[in-house]
Amino acid sequence: MKKIKFIFLIVTIFSPVLIAQGFKVKSTGSQSFNFEDKNGRNQITFYSATPLEDITGTANGISGTISFDVANFSKTLKGSLTVKVASMNSGIELRNQHLKSANWLNAEKYPDIVFTIKEAMDVKQIETNKLEFKVRGDFTMHGVTKEIIADAEATYLDESEQTKRRAPGDLLGVRAKFNVKLSDYGVNNQIIGNKVAESIEVSVNMVGSNKN
């Protein structure tokens, strides 16, 4: 009986370590990645269906940092990302003006859209340097903050000749997808006479460096 109790105790103490998910890469310890991209390649894509025409737009004004322990990603992930509303582009200048106006996202009063990470959940190791997970966090848009869960994927690349062409240091590539319900954030979904879908699909493609 004592033996069983001992095994149970050991498993209980070490279970967080046993289930911890992380990258199996050369780098170790705590790493912090900066997502400010001077080349404008880091990108948020938003998609909405309207009765007349489906709208696909992008935003490139991304900044922020993500940090985690390489071997224990699931338990240590934290950070915050910001997107400038002014950087949003829907491909039509008049629509862009409307998008940023007081009737819509009100870029003057609320210039930033912010996502603050709370935790990583359901972390799955896809490859040694690639993790698939859900990320829970606070999403702030139009002055309203709501908790959302996004499907995400992170790829860790140790510094190499190939990665140096993009940016110095190790690189972290992050892809994420989530939906934003406009009414939750007090945004009127009329845009230049069209009713935009209540739910906007948002995709994130970005690369951060730990030496930026």
Partner: protein, 88 residues
């Protein structure tokens, strides 16, 4: 309807038809665009990324605007070149 009015009507009709043919040629787009999104592959991570490139796309809004202006000008000219009655 005199000869000048017939000519104005013909030109107006022709302009409207041409504007809608151009619209059809550009792929029946609703809104006129000066930029379009093209996808390219990220050589490092293998995912696709979108990029804006300058390209003019003729939308139906432009055809409708041209048609409206043509109808307005044609109407004015039709009135201007009407047969004036000679009163003695």
């Amino acid at each position: 309807m005199n000869k000048k009015q017939k000519l104005i009507l013909l030109i107006g009709f022709f302009v409207i038809i041409i504007s809608f043919l151009i619209w059809a040629f550009f792929g029946f787009e609703i809104f006129t665009k000066t930029q379009v999104l093209v996808e390219s592959k990220d050589e490092l991570f293998g995912w696709s990324e979108k990029k804006w490139v300058d390209k003019f796309i003729w939308g139906i809004d432009l055809s409708l605007a041209i048609s409206g202006i043509t109808i307005f000008i044609s109407g004015f000219l039709l009135y201007f070149f009407r047969n004036k009655k000679i009163t003695s």
